[in-house]
Amino acid sequence: MKDILILENVYKSFNGLKVVRNVSIKVKEKSITGLIGPNGSGKTTLFNLISGIYKIDNGKIFFNGERIDNLEPYEISNRGIIKSFQIPRIFKRLTILENMLIAAKNIEGEKILNSLNRNNWRGIEEENIKKALIILEFLELKELKNSLPINISGGQLKLLEIGRALMCNPRMLLLDELIAGINPILAEKIFKKIIDLRNRFDITFFIIEHRIEFLFDFAEYIFVMDKGEIIAEGTPKEIMNNEKVMEAYLGEK
């Protein structure tokens, strides 16, 4: 399978502190790829660079053959890369359904002149609502559609983030600490849903996760970051037996 996301010698520093150093990775299309590493190793920064929230200092990022490192976040998003956040970021004063609909591509009703006539956007809006309800049902959130995000649990917020990302018709999801703070049963359920989604919609998943046991079970390929560099990559089995990785996590022997 071809590589959908390619990073070539990417550098990023904040006030002289080199957070990402010479990172080159290739993520295969329709794969579930993991990114692990100790705290402060630059994983989240790397995701922010891919989604355009930060601009890279040096290097190149390609998505689906196109260079994206000089694009604005909304342009990158429109090319199919959607990112979720370590701490779920939800529109707090909008209902669950509205949160989903924000992500939908309703090109007509989102233009100011078209918004003045309901007939211009009603059809697409109804389709989007239908789609949102199907996704919410899949994520077992349908009953909560009219409630505000403050009324749902942390695990459900994570699910809502995935659901919202799905509304964008993504080609690739960047999930930052997907199951942090979620009980193991729900966590396993979430990962099973991810595999289900990958098989149904051909979405590529790139996941940061501290609970490595889940990645070892579900991911197909894993990158390991430490101090801003990629120190190892390979299948879960290879990573498990890699001494460098164990050193980075547990300290030198």
Binding site: I82, F91, L101, I102
Partner: protein, 309 residues
């Protein structure tokens, strides 16, 4: 006879007083409404509202003083304030919210001071006088003049109200709310938030311009002292108390605050007050403001939520 003289002669006329109050309520409703769409829906901290109010008033005054019909002046005022809003927002819009407030306030004050000191632009500190009314009829009774003006301002208010109502109910309006909640997140979901913010700032400016245009023909003169930053703050208070995230709230806020202002003014005729009614108004406003921000930040009327079966 200018506006103040007329009002002084007719001050005992209760009908005229009420009509005049209603006109001011409608006028400030437009301004409060324009802030509501900017701040309450999109999260744009516009502290330069008085600037666009002023631009509308001056442009309309200059056009009508040159002999053109008032409605052409109104059109020019709307277009010109929208244009200034558009041009000024492009460099400002990427600035973070709180800095945006500072920048707009500074811009507003700068242009006001330039207008005040440069005589050649529009009369400097004296301003422009004898601006023709929109209804240049002879032998018009004062009450009838007020009724015509009231109809005009309600017409303008209704026009903008209906446009905003369509906007906020559409997917476009939903994105505005999303920008208010979390702009970065909205971008990550694929929306060009700058474009939306610039459009809303332009609409808000156009509305303030229309309000200014009405003011200039109604009171017959304009000077920079009408557009101090306190005008901006008054509009903010109306918007916050009425409920910033609801367009009906913006109007209720204007009604409420103008009601207090006018109410305290006539109260002194009936009640022996130990303090000056003007000061009394400021005291009430201040207490209300604190009360609302601490205990009822959503304002008198809450935001409407979308609900489906």
């Amino acid at each position: 006879m200018d506006y103040l003289q007329k009002l002084e002669i007719k001050v005992i006329n209760m009908i005229a007083f009420i009509l005049d109050t209603l006109i001011w309520i409608a006028l400030y409703s437009i301004l409060s409404l324009s802030l509501s769409i900017e701040y309450g829906f999109t999260g744009i901290m516009n502290f330069g509202k008085a600037l666009f109010f002023m631009i509308g008033a001056y442009v309309s005054a200059i056009v009508t003083l040159n002999g053109l019909n008032y409605f052409i002046g109104l059109l020019f005022a709307i277009l010109f304030s929208a244009l200034i809003g558009l041009i000024s927002s492009i460099p400002m819009i990427k600035v973070r919210e709180d800095y945006f407030a500072i920048v707009t306030l500074a811009l507003s004050e700068c242009i006001r001071i330039i207008l005040k000191n440069e005589y050649w632009i529009a009369g400097g500190p004296i301003g422009l006088k004898n601006i023709p009314s929109a209804f240049p009829l002879k032998n018009l009774s004062y009450e009838f003049f007020l009724i015509l003006n009231l109809l005009l301002i309600i017409g303008i208010l209704l026009f903008f109200y209906l446009i905003l109502r369509m906007i906020i109910k559409s997917p476009y309006g939903r994105i505005l709310k999303a920008i208010r909640e979390d702009e970065t997140l909205t971008q990550i979901l694929g929306k060009n938030t700058f474009e939306y913010k610039i459009q809303i700032f332009t609409i808000g400016s156009a509305m303030a311009g229309a309000a200014g245009s009405f003011l200039s023909q109604y009171i017959g003169y304009v000077s920079t002292d009408l557009f101090l930053s306190t005008t901006t703050f008054t509009i903010w208070i109306m918007c916050i108390i009425g409920g910033p995230s609801n367009i009906n709230g913006a109007i209720i806020g204007a009604l409420f605050m103008r009601g207090i202002e006018r109410g305290t003014r006539i109260l002194k005729d009936y009640v022996n007050m130990p303090i000056d009614p003007n000061n009394f108004m400021f005291i009430i406003t201040g207490i209300l403001m604190i009360f609302f921000i601490m205990y009822k930040p959503e304002g008198i009327i809450k935001e409407k939520r979308m609900e489906i079966e």
